[in-house]
Amino acid sequence: MTEPTDNLEALMRQALAGDKRAYADLLRATSHFLRPYLAKRINSASEVDDLLQEILISIHKARHTYDGMRPYKPWAYAIAKFRLQDHLRSHYADHLQQAVELSEVEETLSEPVTESEISYESISGEIQKLPPKQAAILELMHREGYTAKEVAEKIGMKESAVKVAAHRAYKLLRKVLER
C-alpha cells in the first residue's frame, strides 16, 4: 500500500470518490505537515491544536474545490494560511481591545489612586484579597512606584502579561469599590 504522505493527490482523488480510509490517511498526513507550520507561528500548543482542527474542518468543507489533478500541498497550505490569518487577526484585535480598556481604566483610576481620594494604603485590604500575583503587581506598581516594564523584569513576566494582570486587578477592584 502507498504511504499516506507519498501521494497526497492520489489519496484525495480516492477520498473524493468516497474512500473513507484514504480520506482518514489524507487528513492525518495533512495535520502532520501543518502542525510544524502552525507551531512556528503560534506559541501556545493549545492554540495550535484548536487552529489545526479548524483548518481540517475547512479542508473538509472545501474539498470539492480540489480535483486531484494539481499538487495537494499548495491547496492545503492556502487554506491553512487563510485560517491562520483569521486567527491572528482576531487574536490581535482582542489584545488591542484589552489595551484600549487598560488605558481607559488607567485614566479613570490613576488619578484617585495617586491623589488624595484613594491611595494604595486606603484600599490595601481589598488588594490583599486579590489573587496573589495581581496583588503583587499592584503593590510593585502603586506602592513601590515601578513601571510595568520594571515589574515584568523583576518577576520574570512579559510586560504585556503584567499589564493584562494589572488590568484584571483594576477591574476587580473597581467592582468592589463601586459596591
Binding site: L27, S31, D49, S58, H60, G68, R70, A78
Partner: protein
C-alpha cells in the same frame, strides 16, 4: 493529538463522495456565455444605437470596445480563479485584470486625445451610471451566488473582480445602445464609476464570500 484523531474520525464518518468543482476555465466560460446572452437579450429589448455600423469603422471606438471586452473576459477569468482557495494554482490568471485595466487606461487616454474637436456633451449625465449599475445587478447576483459554492481565500479581491466583471457587462451594453460620441462623458459617467464599483465589490466580497 487525541482531539485531532477524534475530529478525523468525525470528518471521515461525514464524508460522502464529492463531485469536484469545474476548472476555472470551464466556470468562466459558463459565466462569459451567460453574460454574452444577457447582453444580446438586453440589446434586443433596448435596441442598438442607430449609428453602430458607422461607429464600428472608427478605430478608437473599436479599440475602446476591445479593451472593455478584455476587462470583461479577464475579470471573469480572475473571479473564477479567485473562487478557489489556491487560485487553482494559476496566480497569473488572477492578476490578469491589472494588465487589462492598464491597457484600457491607455486606450481611453489616446481615444480622448483623438476626440478633437470634442463633440458636445449629451444632456444626460449620471443616468448612464445608474443604467449600467442596474443592468449589472443580475450578472453580479448570479456570479456571487455561484462563487459562494466554492471557497475563496481572497474574498475581497474575488468580490471586486466579480463586481467589475458584472459592471463591464453593463458598460458594454450601454456603449452599444447609447447614442453618444463624447469620450469625456463616457469617461466621467461610464468608466470612472468603475473605481467605486471596485470598492463596493471589495466590501461585498468580505461580507458575502465567507465560508
Amino acid at each position: 493529538m487525541n482531539d485531532i484523531e477524534h475530529l478525523v474520525e468525525d470528518l471521515v464518518r461525514d464524508a460522502a463522495p464529492v463531485k469536484p468543482a469545474p476548472h476555472p476555465f470551464r466556470l468562466s466560460l459558463v459565466w462569459l456565455a451567460c453574460s454574452a446572452a444577457y447582453i444580446v437579450v438586453s440589446l434586443a429589448i433596448s435596441g442598438l444605437r442607430p449609428d453602430l455600423m458607422h461607429k464600428f469603422h472608427q478605430f478608437w471606438f473599436d479599440a475602446e470596445l476591445a479593451a472593455l471586452l478584455l476587462i470583461f473576459v479577464t475579470t471573469t477569468l480572475s473571479a473564477a480563479a479567485l473562487s478557489f482557495p489556491d487560485l487553482h494554482q494559476m496566480r497569473r490568471l488572477a492578476l490578469a485584470p491589472a494588465i487589462a485595466f492598464a491597457l484600457f487606461v491607455v486606450v481611453i487616454f489616446l481615444s480622448w486625445r483623438a476626440n478633437q474637436p470634442p463633440p458636445p456633451l449629451p444632456v444626460h449625465s449620471f443616468e448612464c451610471t445608474i443604467s449600467i449599475t442596474l443592468s449589472s445587478i443580475l450578472p453580479a447576483v448570479w456570479t456571487f451566488y455561484t462563487m459562494r459554492r466554492y471557497a475563496s481565500t481572497h474574498q475581497r479581491w474575488a468580490g471586486m473582480t466579480a463586481l467589475l466583471s458584472a459592471f463591464s457587462v453593463g458598460a458594454l451594453w450601454l456603449r452599444l445602445y447609447e447614442l453618444n460620441d463624447s469620450i469625456v462623458h463616457v469617461i466621467e459617467w461610464h468608466y470612472l464609476p468603475m473605481l467605486g464599483i471596485g470598492l463596493v465589490g471589495w466590501w461585498l466580497g468580505k461580507a458575502l464570500l465567507k465560508w
